[in-house]
Subunit: 385 residues, 4 copies
Amino acid sequence: MASSELIARYHQIRKHTEDICSHLQTEDYVVQPVADVSPPKWHLGHTTWFFETFILKPYFMGYQEFNPNYNFVFNSYYETVGTRVIRTDRGNLSRPSVIDIYSYRGYVDKAMDDFLCAEPSIEVKELLILGFNHEQQHQELLYYDIKYILGNNPLFPAYNKAYHMPKLEKTGRDFIRISEGVYEVGYQGDDFCFDNELNRHKVYLNDFEISPDLVTNGEYLEFINANGYHDFRYWHMEGWGWVNDNKVECPMYWHNIDGEWHTYTFRGLEKLNLDEPVGHISYYEAYAYASWRGMRLPTEFEWEVAAPQLNWGHAWEWTESAYLPYPGFSKAPGAIGEYNGKFMVNQKVLRGASVATPPGHGRVTYRNFFHPNLRWLFNGIRLAK
Amino acid sequence: MASSELIARYHQIRKHTEDICSHLQTEDYVVQPVADVSPPKWHLGHTTWFFETFILKPYFMGYQEFNPNYNFVFNSYYETVGTRVIRTDRGNLSRPSVIDIYSYRGYVDKAMDDFLCAEPSIEVKELLILGFNHEQQHQELLYYDIKYILGNNPLFPAYNKAYHMPKLEKTGRDFIRISEGVYEVGYQGDDFCFDNELNRHKVYLNDFEISPDLVTNGEYLEFINANGYHDFRYWHMEGWGWVNDNKVECPMYWHNIDGEWHTYTFRGLEKLNLDEPVGHISYYEAYAYASWRGMRLPTEFEWEVAAPQLNWGHAWEWTESAYLPYPGFSKAPGAIGEYNGKFMVNQKVLRGASVATPPGHGRVTYRNFFHPNLRWLFNGIRLAK
Amino acid sequence: MASSELIARYHQIRKHTEDICSHLQTEDYVVQPVADVSPPKWHLGHTTWFFETFILKPYFMGYQEFNPNYNFVFNSYYETVGTRVIRTDRGNLSRPSVIDIYSYRGYVDKAMDDFLCAEPSIEVKELLILGFNHEQQHQELLYYDIKYILGNNPLFPAYNKAYHMPKLEKTGRDFIRISEGVYEVGYQGDDFCFDNELNRHKVYLNDFEISPDLVTNGEYLEFINANGYHDFRYWHMEGWGWVNDNKVECPMYWHNIDGEWHTYTFRGLEKLNLDEPVGHISYYEAYAYASWRGMRLPTEFEWEVAAPQLNWGHAWEWTESAYLPYPGFSKAPGAIGEYNGKFMVNQKVLRGASVATPPGHGRVTYRNFFHPNLRWLFNGIRLAK
Amino acid sequence: MASSELIARYHQIRKHTEDICSHLQTEDYVVQPVADVSPPKWHLGHTTWFFETFILKPYFMGYQEFNPNYNFVFNSYYETVGTRVIRTDRGNLSRPSVIDIYSYRGYVDKAMDDFLCAEPSIEVKELLILGFNHEQQHQELLYYDIKYILGNNPLFPAYNKAYHMPKLEKTGRDFIRISEGVYEVGYQGDDFCFDNELNRHKVYLNDFEISPDLVTNGEYLEFINANGYHDFRYWHMEGWGWVNDNKVECPMYWHNIDGEWHTYTFRGLEKLNLDEPVGHISYYEAYAYASWRGMRLPTEFEWEVAAPQLNWGHAWEWTESAYLPYPGFSKAPGAIGEYNGKFMVNQKVLRGASVATPPGHGRVTYRNFFHPNLRWLFNGIRLAK
């Protein structure tokens, strides 16, 4: 990418973040109802801190840091870069205020403009593109977190009454059959990918079948009505404990009001649409549902091999695969190396993309990962057998 | 009080609450860094809900509730009045917004104006005066909570750079001696008091001595420097556990920066003034300090009997007394009866008043009460022997 | 007491401890089902350690410690005497074995015999008498702990099928009326008492009435049947939280089997005797019961003044009083001073004695104390108004 | 296997369990110092309950259950078979006593003898062989649990002063190189294997190298001395949290006494032997160690393919693989189906066997699994690259 193109891309991405937040009231930027959710203002600051810390401070001679205390406030998990506010405390900070953080964004954006006037080195270009992808990941998290903040408020305020949820047409086709053999998986090409998608390597797959469609709300409701949440046989032991400890009876955001199922959407509380893909379920629930159907979830490699034949991109799809390094995986040195590798234990891979994924961010080799109990992400279920 | 006087008093008190908040930024209204602290916007709504729930709804014919969901959001602990947001979740609510809550205040204030045009019944007058005192208690809590919110922020923002802390001159006089005998304690008179100050009754006191002055920062520092926080002999077993579990080394808001003691005040972080009364200590610390001096804390009755000879009103003073009912104590029927009685276990009485106590709210018979580990209230130490 | 009398008393008390344990199987000596319960073998060791640590080691020249590691194992809460196994870990220790601990007892008893041949000093006599009373307190705790260990076992094994529970005849008399005035309370005399019973001092009591009888199981059942456990109005806020968090529906050891109430006794599971005093209730429950009856619990001073007219000694009676120091209370120097004073916060006083109290151990001025949520002690309810 | 052979095998295995316990004192059978450890008497009862529940009760006509309450006490995690004592409460039960449980064993053994006189059906034979393997797994757990119980006792009692730890000679050879290609893994044959070892299937492996030797104490000490426990770069984020929360500084059972490393063995506390394989480390530590060496742990398939060239059987070796179902995995119907499948989330596979594994129990395809933080099992580290 040429320098001018990089600047344009930089501004386009930075603006998209702020567009997402344009529907919020000041108070919505501040709260952190659970540890996994970050206050939107924190995302705004943290993504800015990323460019300041990894590009401006080391590479832009004479750059004056906006506020040295912000490193403490906006560092997420980079041990290399010093101490930080613990994650669960983010929602306790009323300052810096939203206006202060927008000033911070403006200040850093201006400095980035100045810095990118001159053609940057390859090393900086790579960091810049990582910064783009990093901010895009936080754009997606912003959607998750905003939905959680508003959807768990007893007043159920709308995010945007005009929000349009992309429709996903069900193909209604039979399961796709893939024959056993050696396949290649992992990223191939010269564009950006995360380190966890490398190296491209061979895997052996057995014969399998995979559904061309995602499981719908209506299909999932059959599982609920068949008492699936109360029958231990379909659950992992950990999942069964999770269901009972948390008294889980349905997907997150579902509410049974006078016998009728509703769900919170970005437009507010609405009647459940039975034809839409089910979402906001934990891996435990996805597994139990599949188990009840006498099927299973695909592995991430089955998914990747079948991907060209799937309509995907609507919701991150839980796979049976644990999040582990590919053969030959190695971490970059320094803080950037903390990006992916250190999370490779006790998490599950999700494949695909979601309606919240920014345009141009996804890839068929993309490996998303979350703990198996999490539901606030935009996810879904695809069956295999 | 005549009706016009009640209206004037109502508006004066309501305005004082908003004046306290006038120095806040919107974000400061929202957060709840620990369970004991409530978001300022919650106080604004809850005090309004009190008038709406206990006066307007039952007594003002044709009154239209502002928003039925607000009962769920702004009920504090009144089981009689229905379910409520659990206390630790108050800081998770971005809505109602600050503007919405000010609208709610305006709406209820207008209705109160209309309602109080006609002379209210005695019953309503009593509820009204209870509502005044209730809102004043929340004014004091607002100061505690705002200090906690800003004073625990890593940026240490000032609440009000022009804030003037009332000076308390040390008398330097000897301990006051009171002779043994039967004394009367508890509220006497026709004005308002809380139910926990009744009935006025006799107690027998032994000879005792009580200091005319509060313990200063400088005196407390001697305890710290004498290793008082590391010597179990001065502590209750529970206090010793609390000190060690929480790694407590000094009063709340104190920071030792490069060997010099600072403290957070409403003006920001400042050098510790050794002549000011020490504050923000738990009962455990107050007890340990007294114990180290070879003395003790006064009981609440010793305090009340000695009160006319004390300069008091600067900080709530921990007493040795547990918070228990007076002889003949009885609760009012209904929700109002939940005001005090149900807290009478495992709490300590504090006597006096503080710089945050609204004018006209205090009384020599006033019984404040908190759990022994709490430090965010404006408190202090007076010695007895 | 003469030396020979002291030796006789020593052996009588030591034997009583072992008699209590004579009904146990080895396994019963070992377990600690909850933090408040100690394994019986720990009591056997700890009471022995008390004599070894406070008498033999400092006063018996040439005494050879049985095993230096036992100090770590058998110290209870004496910070002065060094580190110790944390309380909740006592049930994790399979060694020293029961046989080892009986050897330890024999070894120390033998040394005590040798030591007491010579007339001991006054100081030693006082420690010895404290040791007697200390071991008697553990005898009572042994009964509580054994009942908990066996009574919470799903097999409900009997402690002793021939155990005879002393009967308490209900007087059926009216409430006793006591007139207001100045009364003296606290220990008076030359015999042993605990430091917390001193000093004898005057208190002023208002007119009050107190029941000559304890509340019976039948009377308490009326409270249960009137839905008392589900009506917040009778409870402290903390008590209400406790009831709901722990799903409490009846006293400890009660079981409703096919609609019929049973209770675990030392003889095993038996039908509930409606005429016996209710026991194993928390302070919260005692308070709620009294509150439901429109009455209250007596204060410890009301109790002490009325004591000569009460049939007492069946169960420790919850009072409304918090456990606080008497006027002029002072702690002994050294480890012995840790005996009582450091517990004087957040506990409630119980007065009387119980069927588990060793003969000769009680006194009308005796102040027992426990946290308000505890139920495994042998307690009961007496009403006042 | 013929019926007589089955009987002989039954008795041999049952005896081996009791032999392991023959060194214990009664008290050692009872305690449960942490949730993962079960009291030895529980293992004795539970393995007996397995034969009674799955063979005698359904298949042996007229069999009289020993004690119906034992199902509640000795069920481990079989939801199909009814409610049970929660796992963390096992150490709270003093009854059934050790003698009672040996009677239970004798009673069931006698019934099994009677039952096996007649040639059992194939179905019963399979259950019987599963029961053998089940009891052997508990034999191994008994060693882990006994070591934990005695090794965490402050007196460090020996299990057996004559215990002989098998020596593992270091080969000192270079890493073994395996070429990329398609390999077969999973159990093949007609003998017993667990359901999780099926189906045998093809996997694609890349070129890799694997060490013929386990990491020694001496090598691991280099990691400690290089400050490895204090350098976040070598750790997973979860591992780093675990190290810091638990203040981990060395493997379990290591003690640095006056600058010299010791370790608890079945003979008691001994000086650390630097040439022995390191053990009792969590997966987090194994990973961090490998990471510090610039290497990694093998996957379970690399391990299985290389197994014929490894000296294995000394300690269970942590692999990088998550515990997941093989292609075509299916659970048996009924309670037996709860054996393995429901644990297939958030656990790591270990391969090999240990000195505690009963003779004849291991297989090269055996998949052991534990949570990544656990250390009380007999484990070790093998490096790959």
